[in-house]
């Protein structure tokens, strides 16, 4: 067992039970994070990124079902853990920053109350020590007046400040892995950069493992060591950041990167034709095949086996199959 590996997600299949049937979202998702490694996960809305992240901490909604797969944290399968071990994991090792800071903080509780509650359950400290810990975390998150923030209700803070509170929460104690689910998507444009810089700085300083889920391709490119590209519940391409971004192999990745407007060049991208598939009746084989310009017969039958095209750069596409 490689001692370096913090998190290993293997062959994850997740679905949601709804009145319209079972929505099979994740189909064999895999992910690896090493100590201190920074990972990016990119993909469209609805591709299953948040579902994957929530599965890691087992906080899926009650109609979510993990059908198959393993999520190993330092060798232990999270899906088989007993409640106490799982709670320890959530309190000490892994933390998560949610996408919408407004809905992530309970509006009826003051920020301080929430933080104290979490610290008390995690570390069993006295009130004063717990408060010290909370204030320190708020300071680390570059909040200008930690005492005041501590005493405020979430609606009294701006969007950027709320997200910084969430970041502060994520930093309490010595975490080993931080999951950031689109941390800047819901913030004002002027604040996005600030919050992202803060987050990346803290991650580098503390040398924690970091999963950065985002649709901001540029931000991901600059800040992660390796990146995973997700489409419709599958990881279709992954590898070292520079290699994936400068040499996208999968047709979807190519189109995705094309969509980012560039300073050079004269045209806007035409977009990707078609839509994200219906998870109740997903396409067979490779789920991208209805929208792919290079579709072949094999693509409709089974999901392509991943191939290492260059070192540290993998793709799951029939175009690169070894004959």
């Amino acid at each position: 067992m490689n001692k370096d590996i913090l998190l290993e997600v293997k062959n994850l299949h997740v679905g949601y039970k709804t009145h319209m049937g079972i929505s099979q979202v994740l189909q064999g998702v895999h992910l690896t994070v090493r100590k201190g490694e920074r990972i990016g996960v990119i993909g469209e809305s609805g591709s299953g990124k948040t579902t994957t992240m929530k599965s890691i901490l087992k906080i899926l909604p009650s109609n979510g079902m993990i059908k198959e797969g393993e999520i190993l944290y330092q060798g232990r399968n999270i899906l088989e853990m007993k409640q106490e071990e799982l709670l320890e994991l959530r309190r000490k090792k892994i933390s998560m920053i949610f996408q919408d800071p407004t809905s992530a903080l309970n509006p009826l509780f003051k920020v301080g109350q929430l933080m104290l509650d979490i610290i008390k359950y995690s570390y069993n400290l006295e009130e004063t020590e717990a408060k010290e810990m909370a204030l320190k975390a708020l300071r680390d998150a570059a909040l200008p007046d930690p005492e005041r923030v501590f005493d405020s209700y979430p609606f009294q803070l701006s969007g950027g400040m709320r997200q910084r509170v969430c970041i502060a929460l994520a930093l309490i104690g010595d975490r080993e892995l931080i999951i950031a689910d689109e941390p800047t998507t819901n913030l004002d444009v002027t604040i996005k950069a600030q919050v992202l810089n803060l987050l990346t700085k803290l991650v580098r300083e503390r040398n924690v493992g970091w999963i950065f889920v985002s649709q901001a391709l540029g931000a991901v490119r600059e800040n992660v060591d390796r990146v995973y590209v997700m489409y419709a519940g599958n990881i279709i391409e992954w590898g070292q950041t520079e290699k994936v971004f400068s040499n996208p192999l999968h047709p979807y990745t190519q189109k995705l990167l094309e969509c980012v407007p560039k300073l050079t060049g004269t045209e806007f991208s035409k977009g990707i034709r078609g839509r994200v598939p219906n998870y109740f009746n997903p396409p067979s084989g490779c789920r991208f095949h209805p929208r792919c310009d290079f579709v072949m017969d094999e693509c409709k039958k089974t999901f392509p086996e991943p191939v290492e095209v260059e070192t540290g750069h993998f793709v799951a596409c029939n175009l690169y199959r070894r004959r």
Binding site: L105, N106, P107, L108, L114, Y153, Q156
Partner: protein, 360 residues
Amino acid sequence: MFKYILVIDIKSKIVRCVFKMRAIWKYVGKRVLYVIPTLIGLSILIFILSRVLPGDPALMAAGPNAPKWVVEQIRHQLRLDKPLWQQYYYWLVDLFHGDLGYSIYTKRSVTVDVVEYLPASLQLIFLAALFEIGGALALGIISGRYAYKLPDNMVRVLAYIGISVPSFVWGLLFQLIFAAIIPLFPSHGMYSYGTIPPPRVTGFSLIDSLIAGQFDTFVDILWHMVLPAFALSLGAMAQDARIIRAGMVDTMQKDHVSLVRAYGIPERTIFSKYILKPSLVPAVTVMGMDIASLLGNAFMVEMIFQWPGFSRYGINVMLNKDINGIVAVVLVVGIIFAIANIIVDVVVAYLDPRIGRRSA
């Protein structure tokens, strides 16, 4: 477990209460000022209707065989010979002196009637409110906790039945089943035959009996209150149970619940602290309104159970076309309703920190 959390909650609430006092009084003052014109409008409306609509109140009061001079005397006594606006003006002046006029039905001052009968109704409504809150909380929480599973579905079906059956039907049913067929409870009245009512101190027979040390009277009164209070509370209980359940199901899916779960707070605490409280805040508004409207439903229930309360008095004055009584009843109900609404608003403003605060 719930009680434990409630006690701690109450202690911290008392501390915070002191600090909020000043803001609350200002808020209450504003609301009272707003409500007064409405009540005045209400009194004008019902006053005018009562003087304009019925055929000839004086004639009805005197009876068909009364000689003309008696009718004229009554007409003068009721001020019906004066122009309408003058009648209202004198009525308003009397009101400020606490005089609600003369009741043709009870042949005495309406004010005396109100003071005598109102406490009994308030008692009944209070007990009904207790049943209602307790029942709604219990059913709503069970329903929410086990959402979409068997307990939830059972409660939902019961709730529909509870809402659909009118309160007077419940009253009749309970009288039938629990007083006649299975003689568990008395079928009407406030005292059993032969019980001597306690001397009047506050007007609330329950309290008065305790003050007088007549514990068996106290129990007797309570025993008489159970059926009508329960019949009164069922409709509101069912309605509020649904609202509580809806609030809980709504809250359980929110991100802030996921967050606390992600940080390792145990499920039980999540449920009682982070799901329960936010779900109850919207429920309080509706529950307050439903409790206030118990006053309306009491009219039917008091009649069925012959409960000597304000609502039964109201029905009687209405059936006897006692115009002063009718106006007074409507006005008193309006005032109580308004007070109840203000109390509800204050409670909601207190519980939800978002109301009334400016963002930083």
